[in-house]
Amino acid sequence: MARVKVQEAPFDIAAETAALLAGRQDIGGLGCFLGVVRGTVGGRALRAMTLEHYPAMTEAAIAAIAAEAERRWDLLGCTVIHRTGRLAPGEPIVLVLAAASHRTAALAATSFLIDWLKTRAPFWKKESYADGGEAWVEAHAADDAAAARWEG
């Protein structure tokens, strides 16, 4: 059963890692992905990134993605934390952890989780630029292709 959190507050990667490993001796590998707000997008300086989401659906959608990862790999732990609200460049947005007895499953599940989060969890990013402009981030074909790798 995955640990899923959607929150405005920062998260603590060391505490989350420790929580996954605590009291266990069956985990051999822990894969992790940390997404971070970049300061420049397409050559344009960013002031902030604002994440909107669909509160009634978000945690359930993430839990369904994590359940799919647990169905595909023998995971011994799985954590997904996604932040919302206004974030500055350099701030972490999302944390994915996947633990397994061996590294192959842990790392594959980590890639899968972030690929599906990007295409199946109800979040929308708005970029606020240093020059005052704003724009909603458009979905990337590359993300759809990355997510599609895991289909079939």
């Binding site: 009634a56 199946r120 109800p122 979040f123 458009e138």
Partner: protein, 88 residues
Amino acid sequence: MSGYPLHLLYFAWLRERIGAGGETIAVPGEIATLGELRDWLSQRGPGYASAFAAGKTVRAAVNQVFATPETVLHPGDEVAFFPPVTGG
């Protein structure tokens, strides 16, 4: 079938164009599917028309589950419209 109520939610640029994050409305009984609802909403005013303009990629969920234009609606459903997701 006479009119029935739906709880509508709009996110991201759909919310901005429509000018509201959500509303509860009565829709005509002949609207049976999500696709028909979208066509009907797009004629409610310029904000809706802009949000649901032809060629725009709009996704939807019914009762918090991703849905397709063929999804059948029921009284009291929560129907959310939004752009393709961009989290992660």
